[in-house]
Amino acid sequence: MLPEPFTPEFLTQLETLRLRTRKEFLGSHTGSYSSPRRGTSLEFADYRRYSPGDDLRYLDWGIYARTDRLYIKVFREEVDLFAYVFIDASASMAFPSTQEKFLPATHIALALSYVILANHDHVKLHLLHGESMGPASPFYRGRRRMADCVRFATSLEPRGLLDLAGSLGEHLKKLRRPGKAILISDFLMPAQSYQRGLNLLRALNLDIAVIQVLSRPEIDPPFTNGGLNLVDSETQGEIRLQWSARARQEYRTKLAHHNSELRSFCHQSGIHYSIYVNDRDLSNFVFATLPAIGLFK
């Protein structure tokens, strides 16, 4: 049973999309993504000198006529894609509630997964929380595995404190095939923390996309003016402050600066970046925003 947004129409629309990569990876099967290896696709890649034993069908007879030399046409190999979807499952993703933040994040992940599965590519879901390695699904391939993806993504409640670099590092230790990495998180963590995590992904030569998911109360806290005893959902740390219009404005400025810093880092690092706020329409985000940043072909 698929979640509510995954209507037949939505799924049909998703099937029209294809994930785009900016890097070439070595696939395991023939697929639709170019590989650094030469193969038998229709896309011409290069010439090379004929060697005995080469298939005479690929001889370029025009060059032979002009230069009296034998050259063989070489084509690119097209392979399938291995995609890794990392979902932040820390306690902050349950603010203000699991349904309002974590669930939209999983829906985005599932939508991306369906796009991948529909193209007969491989997708693997990773849930990030704590410092250790969180649960990770096996590679799924084919749209019939969508139910498994849904089951896995909804199997866990967000909880605990996330050390992004630490948790990612544990997951990446077992990653053998390069591919596309999509990280879905609120990124409400110090810049050094997410930068170290994203650099780990970059070090593995993954084509990275980042989707920041925020809830509306995080953008515009609904506090009334007065004394507040704020508790961090992850660390349970407390601070007391006096909430006022000025403090609200200051918070907004800091959030904008924080997001801008994240976006800037992603831009400099060749990472696709997009932000999703939970009160936004999911299909609009998937079919308008994500193609706009170059995530889909």
Binding site: F95, M189, E234, S244
Partner: protein
Amino acid sequence: MEFLNPAALYGLFLLPLLLIPYLIRRKPRRVVFSSLLLFIEHGGQAIAKPWGRLRLPPIFFLQLLLLLLLILALAEPVVSVRLSNIAIVMDNSASMQALEDGAARVALARDQARRVLGDLSANGKVDIFTIVPQLQKINNEPVSPSDALGLLAGVEPDDLADTPANYGDVLNQLTANQKYERVYFITDRPLRGQSDVIRVLTVGKPRDNLAITAFSVSPSSLVNRRLEASVEVANYSGQDQRVTVTIRDDGSGSALASRELKIPARRTASATFQGLSEKPYYTAEIDATDALTLDNRQYAVAANARSLKILAISPRPQALNSLRMIPGISLTIVAPEEYQQTDRSGFGLEIFHYSAPALLPLNPSLLVLPPDSNPVVKLGNPITRPVASGWRESHPLNRYLNLTLFRPAYARPLVPQTAGETIIETVQGPVAFTIEHQGKRLLVLGFDPFPYLGRENLPMSIFTLNFLDWFISASGTKGRATGEPVALAAAPRESILTTPRGGKHVVKPASTSFTKTFYQGIYQLNRGSDRQLLAINYQSASESDLQHSKPIELKPTESAIQGGSTLFSFWPYLVLASLLLFIIEWFFVPPVNRRQLLAAAPGPKLS
């Protein structure tokens, strides 16, 4: 501006309590948020300082003002419009001699009076009063402030205790009668209550003090001529004290006897000195260095001998003749009809035996089975050999007396017609009854103790010696308190009475008392070649107790309120302003909104 009820100003300390509801309302709501990253500044501080700046709504300041006005209204602020006619009542009781850091309280009181007079207009009129021996004005006509200062310089405390008057009433009466705009009472007693016209200015603080409260020198009994001194010392402090009591011959100043005495806190202790040599008068001193030195010394006069001069009036003189066998007794017997013509001066006791005077005599008297025409008692039916059914315990008249053996052959129970004390009582009624009349002792017996038979009738003889001793002690050497009148025996001519401070007073032949005993010491009465010494001592426990002075109760009376016309009181305006503010506050925050505000005070948890 002054406050008639300054105690209400302590309410100002309660004003900060008004913050409590706002602080409770401001109690931070506990809200879980996804991450506090963006609330923490670079240095780890909160965006806003913890608690932030105390932001109070305007309604708080309105309520603060409202409370402030109410407290000020309770304090009853008044503004003196003008003062031109005041009275200064100086406490000149003995406790004003107490020292406060080297200065007498009376000097501090003068300083206070100087300040009061300094605030008075130059053409103001002042009356000066002192309170002992009674409230009296020391100036005939109202004086100017500068003249009042001169008068006050001459006010010295007497050795007199404060009168037990209700000064609140007395001063209110004074204010009403004399129409003073303000009366300043400068005293060392604390104040309780308040009045808008009467101002009590208290000088001095509670102090530790030791005092000799009793001192007497007398022969130990009628027949024993050895002198015995008894001294009682009171400790009016919170800790035990040890003092040395010294008995001196006041003439030469030499010490006759001395003893160390330990006195528990807030208690008294007494010492007895026996075998004193005969001196004209004696002084008892304690070596305490306390606040009030006046009560560290007392005086006493010892009789040269225990003698009693008796005038007996009896139709049966034979029975009374037996008294002559008692040492120290000199007896004159007259018939009842000769009594009026008899010169009664110089007699220490008049015995009316089966007779009675028309009026009570001025000398101490004994009435034995008086006729029914006497003014003191009625006599009941005769009884024979009555048994004593009750008696006054530890009374000098019952001393050494076994009343079970005390059975007179004939008696008539007494029916007292005046207040007195029953000494011996039978089933039928009292048979011995004493009265104090104008400082004189009167004993009425319903039986005849005469003749004096010595050992042959021991109970009756002991009783006879007891009442003779009792009469001697009354007329004897025991010191009197300052302020008490001294009873004088009738004299044929004028006498001179010299006070301890050298003042001389002429005593008329008809004078029966001397009242100006304002100073402690030895008073000397010279009647020709006769010289009589009187010891007058300052004896006031309430005045010597400098720790617990009785407060002065002031109650505003109608007359006092009328007299307060010079004070403009504006507390009603403050109350009106408070009401107005209350209405404004009601308008801004009606109770419904208030409840909503309070209900909404704890913020909702967002997760």
